[in-house]
């Protein structure tokens, strides 16, 4: 009895020693030098592996950061300026500084403003339904409501609002990795600067139809009337194909365009409520200034 225990114990010990020797020799013989900086930089990165930087994962991004001399056009959107600063300190290279961005959904076509005209029974996926149809409503530009962006988001920063049928971005969780932008077949989601306190102004519509047709399909559609263009003091608004676009590079968040929009298609977020009197006075002034023109 004791003999068999002893035999196996000796055998196993010998096996262990022999294997350890082989492993030691192999690891010395076939050693591959790797820049220790790569692991160091990888530890600094957020380890989200979201591919928002354009590389398959944080490791490959770290390799790229270490191996290229000019890294000013590389940026980790999830870590933002903080992480890039750390990377810059570790590598001693210049990095670009970017304003933090956040995903916005440029469609307000909820069930009550954008009536359904047809019914779709196929698989619930935006990519598939966009291939077969222009959607259940008459708007061929708006949200299809099947939630491919929510599925694509790896940070739980999006959900589908059940009453409106539209996706919502939780801005605190959004890392602006851009996966939802790629997933949307209609290019509805855009990355826009986050600003302080997450103040944003953008046109919540992508409909390029002429005013009447757009309005018939959706009551909050941009009709390309160019009223916002007229009031904008910074020339930040461009109107192309009957559709307004607010260029975030020029927009100073003055909010003048929001009340003049006749279809309420310009969205403002996280601003304090307006002073009522001022807004009313402005609105009446606008009406007066338009009226004589109409008569003439």
């Amino acid at each position: 009895m004791t003999e068999s225990i002893l035999n196996s114990a000796i055998l196993l010990t010998l096996l262990g020693i022999v294997s350890a020797l082989i492993l030691y020799v192999v690891s010395k013989k076939f050693y591959v030098y790797e820049n220790p900086l790569i692991s160091e930089v990888e530890d600094l990165l957020p380890a989200a592996n979201c591919a928002g930087c354009g590389f398959p994962g944080c490791r490959s991004f770290a390799e790229k950061l270490v191996n290229t001399d000019d890294i000013s056009d590389l940026f980790c959107p999830v870590g933002g300026n903080e992480v890039m600063k750390l990377v810059s300190d570790a590598l001693g290279k210049e990095v670009a500084e970017k304003d933090p961005t956040v995903a916005v959904v440029r469609c307000q076509g909820s069930c009550d403003v954008r009536p359904k005209t047809t019914e779709y029974q196929g698989p619930r996926s935006c990519a598939i339904s966009a291939l077969i149809y222009s959607g259940e409503t008459d708007c061929q530009y708006g949200c299809l409501g099947d939630g491919d962006c929510v599925v694509a988001c790896k940070f739980d920063a999006m959900y589908m609002d059940e009453t409106t049928g539209l996706p919502v971005v939780i801005t605190d969780k959004c890392t602006s990795c851009g996966m939802c932008v790629d997933a949307c077949p209609r290019d509805i989601i855009e990355m826009r600067p986050k600003h302080k306190r997450d103040l944003k102004i953008f046109v919540g519509c992508l409909n390029e139809e002429k005013g009447g047709i757009a309005k018939r399909a959706c009551s909050v559609a941009c009709i390309g009337c160019s009223k916002c263009l007229d009031v904008c003091p910074k020339e930040a608004i461009v109107i192309e194909n009957n559709l307004a676009y607010i260029d975030p590079a020029y927009c100073t968040l003055c909010r003048k365009c929001v009340p003049v929009c006749p279809t309420h298609s310009i969205i403002e977020t996280n601003f304090p409520p307006r002073k009522e009197k001022k807004a009313e006075a402005k609105a009446t002034a606008k009406v007066e200034s338009i009226k004589p023109q109409n008569d003439a």
Partner: protein
């Protein structure tokens, strides 16, 4: 024993309720909407402008490249707009809007001409005219016919197949055309045989159209070279590759064309259009459309001018019943449900099918039970359940390896699936991504 293709196929209930109804002429539409992309390939380029007066048969959009086709005005009238109008998928597409002139007599001229048998044109002239007169495949794929007739030097053709199969349930457009224009179709076949320099042609007709088979047999008795083949009733026998396999036992290679096995296939509708173009100088401006549905008052077959809105056709059969759920352009198997009825009839519209509430429901998808029904019925020998899984999970490269690109989208797999899985939806999606990947290579 009737001929058929060996692998797969299904037999849905035929429902050919309009097969005894002669083709009627639809009243002149007030306005026609002529899309510039009615064929596979590059869209045509518009050559008319607003307020231009156009004659019937005048070229209004010129072919945009080699795989493209001219488009002719189906009516005499005035171009009112160059506008965008929804296509069957609901996306806006460029089209030419023409208001027809009710005083112009040419609008009311019918395409009834005395039969003209002798072929006076030379071979090259025939090919040139087919390309100029906007002839495309009228079976549904709308592939420009002149491209099919340009035979490469190294290919040896020995047989012309004329496709009178019409395997889709409900549709009877080709069937009626064969019965009413049999002699003209035979002349068309002779024109094609002359143009391609081949001395053998087979007309393939499914056995549920016995009257057409008998008619052609009596017309061709004594004539050499043209053979009539009765085929077993099976869907999708009208598919080019299936038909070649059934008639000649030749297999078209993967990524290959019928030309590679010495065959050219044309639909009977196309052959008739070619007859009219060559013998009577008429470009392709109208086609036969079956308007059908179990609950319609008077389902019929019509001669319809290209560009006529679908709602005009529905009015002509006594309106749409109350409980209509879907209106499909094409047959029930491969047709596309319409987004709205303003959609115009194009060169590829073979039928308008009205489906009621109780026929249209699509079952709730459940898990795959691995029964293998889809594999049994796939006429291309694919594994639809596997392809669906691969494209659902985004494994497009693997799906290409599994030959997703050879799928003919016949829908047999979705038809038989006992779990109501949306097989074709996912396969079509995977196929579109696969095509993009292939073209990027």
């Amino acid at each position: 024993m009737l001929k058929t293709f060996p692998k797969g196929g299904i037999h849905p209930s035929e429902n050919k309720i309009t097969s005894a109804k002669p083709i009627k002429r639809l009243p002149l539409p007030k306005v026609v909407y002529v899309p510039i992309s009615q064929h596979i390939g590059i869209p045509a380029e518009i050559v008319v402008d607003r307020k231009d007066k156009v004659e019937i048969g005048q070229v209004i959009a010129k072919s945009g490249g080699y795989v493209s086709s001219n488009i002719h005005s189906p009516v005499a009238g005035t171009v009112t707009k160059l506008d965008k109008i929804v296509d069957t998928r609901g996306y806006k597409k460029q089209c030419i809007v023409i208001r027809s002139d009710v005083k112009n007599e040419s609008n009311f001229q019918e395409n009834e001409y005395p039969l003209k048998e002798e072929i006076s044109l030379q071979q090259e002239e025939i090919l040139k005219r087919i390309s100029e007169y906007g002839i495309v495949g009228l079976g549904g794929a709308t592939f420009p016919s002149h491209v099919k007739l340009q035979v490469k030097k190294d290919k040896l053709l020995d047989c012309l197949i004329v496709n009178g199969v019409e395997c889709e349930p409900f549709l009877t457009a080709d069937h009626r055309l064969m019965l009413e224009k049999g002699k003209e179709i035979l002349v068309g076949i002779r024109i094609l045989m002359y143009a391609l320099q081949i001395d053998r042609a087979i007309i393939g007709i499914e056995n549920n159209k016995k009257d057409a088979i008998d008619l052609f047999r009596s017309l061709t008795s004594g004539a050499s070279g043209i053979q009539i083949a009765a085929l077993q009733v099976k869907y999708p026998q009208g598919g080019e590759k299936q038909l070649i396999r059934a008639l000649l036992k030749r297999e078209v290679p993967k990524n290959g064309l019928p030309m590679d096995v010495g065959v050219v296939v044309h639909n009977v509708g196309t052959v008739f259009a070619i007859y009219q173009a060559i013998q009577h100088n008429r470009p392709l401006m109208e086609r036969v459309v079956t308007v059908t549905g179990k609950k319609l008052n008077d389902p019929s077959n019509f001669w319809v001018k290209i560009g006529t809105p679908v709602k005009d056709l529905l009015d002509a059969v006594g309106g749409v019943p109350e409980d209509t759920r879907k209106i499909v352009s094409g047959g029930p198997m491969m047709g596309k449900a319409l987004k709205n009825t303003d959609v115009p009839v194009t060169k590829g519209t073979s039928g308008i099918l009205v489906i009621s509430e109780d026929e249209a429901s699509r079952g709730e998808p459940k898990n795959c039970i691995r029964c293998g029904e889809c594999v049994d019925v796939c006429p291309m020998g694919l594994e639809p359940h596997l392809l669906m899984n691969l494209s659902e999970k985004g494994m497009y490269e693997k799906a290409i390896e599994e030959d997703i690109l050879t799928c003919i989208e016949c829908g047999s797999c979705s038809y038989v699936c006992p779990s109501h899985r949306p097989l074709l939806d996912y396969i079509r999606f995977g196929k579109s991504i696969g095509k993009q990947l292939e073209s990027n290579k």
